[in-house]
Symmetry: C2
Subunit: 117 residues, 2 copies
């Protein structure tokens, strides 16, 4: 055991922060909150959700009938929220460290990007 959380799990937890959501709802929210930078696939979703439930980070909120099929809504648990807070901090710190290194070594910019200020 080494990996705390996969990147997909991180986005799914984030999508659940402001309330329970069901399958497609999660997919849509991930696209929205990352402004299209992440395209969570349906095939990925359920496997990750199962893992998150097994780990106690997410739990079933309720089931609602919708067009003949049951929609399962999932909810973030306290433990899930804690892990998410920690992971967000970890990822941001690491991304910053990378940016810092790039800056220090010159050319941070790709063609077209605006300068420092």
């Amino acid at each position: 055991m080494r990996r705390v959380m996969t990147e997909q799990a991180f986005y799914i937890l984030t999508a659940l922060v402001d309330g329970p959501r069901h399958g497609y709802g999660i997919v849509g929210e991930v696209a929205e909150l990352t402004e299209g930078r992440v395209d969570l696939r349906v095939g990925t979703l359920y496997g990750v959700l199962d893992r998150l439930v097994a780990d106690g980070h997410v739990e079933l909120d309720r089931e609602e009938p919708h067009q003949g099929r049951l929609r399962r809504y999932f909810r973030l648990t306290d433990s899930g929220r804690e892990e998410l807070v920690a992971e967000a901090a970890r990822l941001e710190a690491n991304a910053r460290a990378a940016t810092r290194k790039l800056r220090a070594s010159g050319r941070t910019r790709t063609a077209g990007a605006e300068g420092v200020a």
Copy 2:
């Protein structure tokens, strides 16, 4: 194909930003730049390096004898640097989005962490 870059690849590229490094050198630098938040395994390293070389993001810099074995030093290519710049920005934006959502929904902090200001 969907995944631009894995997390491990991101850290390896970052470790190469300020100059060529060899196997264990990369492992050490990743630990240092992430202040221990990432523990890159040797078993992971070479597979990822092979992929990065195949993708043209990294290339062999030189080989130096060291204690009877050859040390292979790897170097970041221009394309690798560009990808890294983009990925760092993407990850930072996503981590920020998560933090923003957590803030907006109340309790951002885990026990013990200091407050906002």
